[in-house]
Amino acid sequence: MSTITEVPLPKHKREVIDQAVIRFAGDSGDGMQITGSQFTNTVALYGNDIATFPDFPAEIRAPAGTLPGVSGYQLHFASNDVYTPGDAVDVLIAMNPAALKMNVADLKANGILIVNSDAFAENDLRKAQMTSNPLEDHSLDKYRLFSVELERLTKTALEHLGLDAKSVSRCKNFFALGMCYWLYNRSMDPTVRWIEAKFKNKPLLVEANKLAMKAGYSYCEATEAFQISYEIPPAKLSPGFYRNLSGNQALALGFVTASQKSGLRLFQGSYPITPASDILHELSQYKDFGVMTFQAEDEIAAITSSIGAAYAGALAITTTSGPGMALKTEALGLAVAVEIPLVICDIQRGGPSTGLPTKTEQADLLQALFGRNSEAPIPIIAPATPSDCFWAALEASRIAIKYMVPVIILSDGYLANGAEPWRIPDVSKIPDFPVRFATEPNSPEGYLPYKRNPDTLARPWAVPGTPGLEHRIGGLEKQDVTGNINYEPLNHEHMVRIRAAKVAAVVQDIPDVVPVGDAEGDLLIVAWGSTHGAITAAMNAQRALGRKIGHVHLRYLNPLPANLGDVLQRYKKVLVPELNMGQLLWVLRAKYLVDAIGLNKIQGRPFKQAELEQKIEEVLGL
């Protein structure tokens, strides 16, 4: 029996706004990632444009209530284009004092602060290293503070179910979610559907979570807590069918698509590592597409099994993060030497060593470019947004096969876990790239494994089991054409140069860059990877102020687009913002002798729009 429904529905104000940033913060065990992704899914389904920033600790369950245990999920949703998860938040949900302490600085003045007041006892405050209760000491006066007894209200709502105390307490995030749905005037239906699917075999939990969410919604309605609710109309996206997509999901779907379009079996050798493991989780579900996933004994077996699978004729990929990349180094050199197709995904995270497993960084660029013994060039592709990962996977697969080379995809933790609406492509419009294995000897002397295609310099792909094409390959230096072991000085130089020429030849598949914004002017921003959204937002804001700025976002980092050198000359200054110490900057300065300036952030977090704007103004001398 509920007392809430007996209260007459109050009248409240509803305001139409164009965007909002909301952040759910709580303990690692509070279900903040689920809460955030449910809210995201709901607003995306409604038609808002979105960008998300899940931010969680590496520890699965740090001691409850402590500062290191805080997990957060930020969402920016709007009726116009969204490029970043937002610099500051309009609404913060803090489930405990630690979450409040870690996040409140990002809340805008006069922003809405919803706090679980049941978690502010003396002991809770001590765990968050607080000496006074912020709910009472007026330190939060500049915010619109809503102290809500989430624990008690959830308990009351679920009382009649006879659920154990722990399970009841675990529903309080859905009470908070229900409040947010009320606040932004959103339907609870998508989440109801999700709850019903998720707890299919636990009807009591279905009931409990639904009830908690509805209780949160009704609480707002009944108590007139907020007095105001908001409406953010759908964004004007291009027509089509949309879904929400994270970078890691996008990579997985991209590889399945590449497998279908090339007609090759997909093989993934992988060893679990944050933040890349989700690609393995995702692909392991797609056995109906013939996808073979192999959880190897280590990072080295992950790549070498993939090399074996590629040798046997599969579209082979391996997925990892920086520390795993380091372990795969020697095998990458083997793939370069034996010239077989392979795609390596490095989902970058903060380093060195174990570093910041769950935080983002872009500091593996030079590792991807040069991190192998001797001269071992590899093409590199860097997706710019979560959904771009889909196209990067396709593109990397196509290049790997066409040129018989390993290709590296550099994604990062921010793209991997961040989500955005994705316009679902018409699969029939994605071109096939069928593979032709060698079936006949390619010379009167028999099969010559290193006889190259003159345009691509690719060698033929002859898979075991093909009669008459028996041949040997390996990591020892080979004579070009015949593939026989050869240590002669001039042959080695020829082979080193031809492997480099082959990677350089990939440039013919790379479109020229066209700067976004001004085609020439005072400042060119050159960047790569996940910084795309923040740079776009910052540049748009600065151009609106009349500044002449162009933006080139490099998708291909090796080889670089043919016209990049010319484009760099068209601007007075070049700024290279990166989440590292200046790695692309180093490459551009070395290759083009351009006096480019870096903006470097190494905090495990993406750029804020304001940081970029500040630097732009500084470089422009404003």
Partner: protein, 345 residues
């Protein structure tokens, strides 16, 4: 269709498996004998030449693929089992053999070796054990005896050696055997038995490095000594050894084994009868370890050949087939539109 129109099938010969590559092992190396045995056995297996793949890591033994006229892949140090696993996963129909050494398989590649064996990938592994690092010119290896004096251990090595057979059985390999480079007939017979095994087959081949560790196995290979030191295993036969076949292995009441002198009331019927096909590895492990005990012989031949475990690559591929049978073949357009979607008009 008349069979008369088909060209006659010419049986493969040893020559079909030889390449034009100059063999670059030291004169007198035991590897020549192993190469010869493999080249003799392959044509007898009834497998098309193009379906053989020989994979290797790094070391003297790993040059093996260059000398076999099959598909061959000379990979990197220690990783041959992982590369071979990828090949088998995609192409279970191929006959994949790995040539490796004591350093390659047990030191740098130890992890891949044990995982390939526990998965029971259908790969034949030839472990050339010469108890020394040859290609790097004479450092001790993980099978070198304790206190081995080498270039890197002038005062003697302080590591206890691995017993490759115990290691393989410990990883629950389903086929484990031992032979010797110079016992050509025995080696060929062992290789044939390995070839007949569907799951992982692990064959340790005691091999002489006449440059850096000459005579490492003399006590097992020299005519005078070997019958005293070698226990030739045959499935279903009692464990008898000795120059006069007058010694045997008997079970003790505590489950352990002992060496007994035949006669004086002890007959062959009192001895352990070799059971290579036992589903559990404990008996084979007991045998594998006895050579370290004073007075015990070194077992030779097939210690374990239990082939009832499905091959990894078959299970992997069957799982895919089962999912397709249940769900139907994947529809890409449907996959991309899975989950919650919305339309913008």
């Amino acid at each position: 269709m008349s069979t008369a129109t088909l060209p006659p099938i010419t049986p493969l010969t040893k020559k079909d498996f030889q390449t034009d590559q100059e063999v670059r092992w030291c004169p007198g190396c035991g590897d020549y004998a192993i190469l010869s045995a493999v080249q003799s056995v392959f044509p007898e297996l009834g497998i098309k030449r193009e379906n053989f793949v020989v994979v290797s890591g790094i070391g003297c033994s790993s040059r093996f693929p260059y000398y076999m006229n099959t598909f061959g892949f000379h990979t990197i140090h220690g990783r041959a089992p992982a590369v071979a696993t990828g090949i088998k996963a995609i192409r279970p129909d191929l006959e994949v053999w790995v040539a490796t050494g004591d350093g390659d398989a047990l030191s740098i590649g130890g992890n891949h070796t044990i995982h390939m064996l526990r998965r029971n990938v259908g790969i034949k592994v030839l472990l050339f054990n010469n108890r020394i690092y040859g290609l790097t010119k004479g450092q001790y290896s993980p099978t070198s005896e304790f206190n081995k004096k080498t270039k890197s251990t002038p005062f003697g090595s302080v590591d206890r050696p691995f017993n490759p057979i115990s290691l393989a059985i410990g990883a629950e390999a389903t086929f484990v055997a031992r032979s010797v480079d110079v016992f050509q007939a025995h080696l060929k017979d062992t290789l044939k038995q390995a070839a007949a095994h569907k799951g992982s087959a692990f064959v340790e081949i005691l091999q002489n490095c006449n440059i850096f560790n000459d005579g490492a196995w003399f006590s097992l290979t020299e005519r005078d000594a070997r019958s005293e030191h070698v226990l030739q295993l045959e499935h279903g036969k009692p464990l008898v050894f000795g120059k006069n076949r007058d010694k045997g292995i008997r079970r003790k009441t505590d489950g352990d084994i002992e060496v007994v002198q035949l006669g004086n009331g002890i007959a062959e019927s009192d001895l352990v009868v070799h059971d290579a096909h036992h589903p559990r590895p404990s008996y084979a492990f007991l045998l594998s370890h006895m050579e370290h005990r004073p007075g015990f012989p070194t077992p030779m031949g097939v210690l374990r050949a239990w082939d009832d475990l499905p091959r990894y690559e078959d299970v992997m591929n069957q799982q895919i087939k089962d999912v397709i049978a249940k769900r139907g073949p994947g529809d890409l357009a449907k996959l991309l539109r899975a989950g919650d979607t919305w339309e913008v008009r």
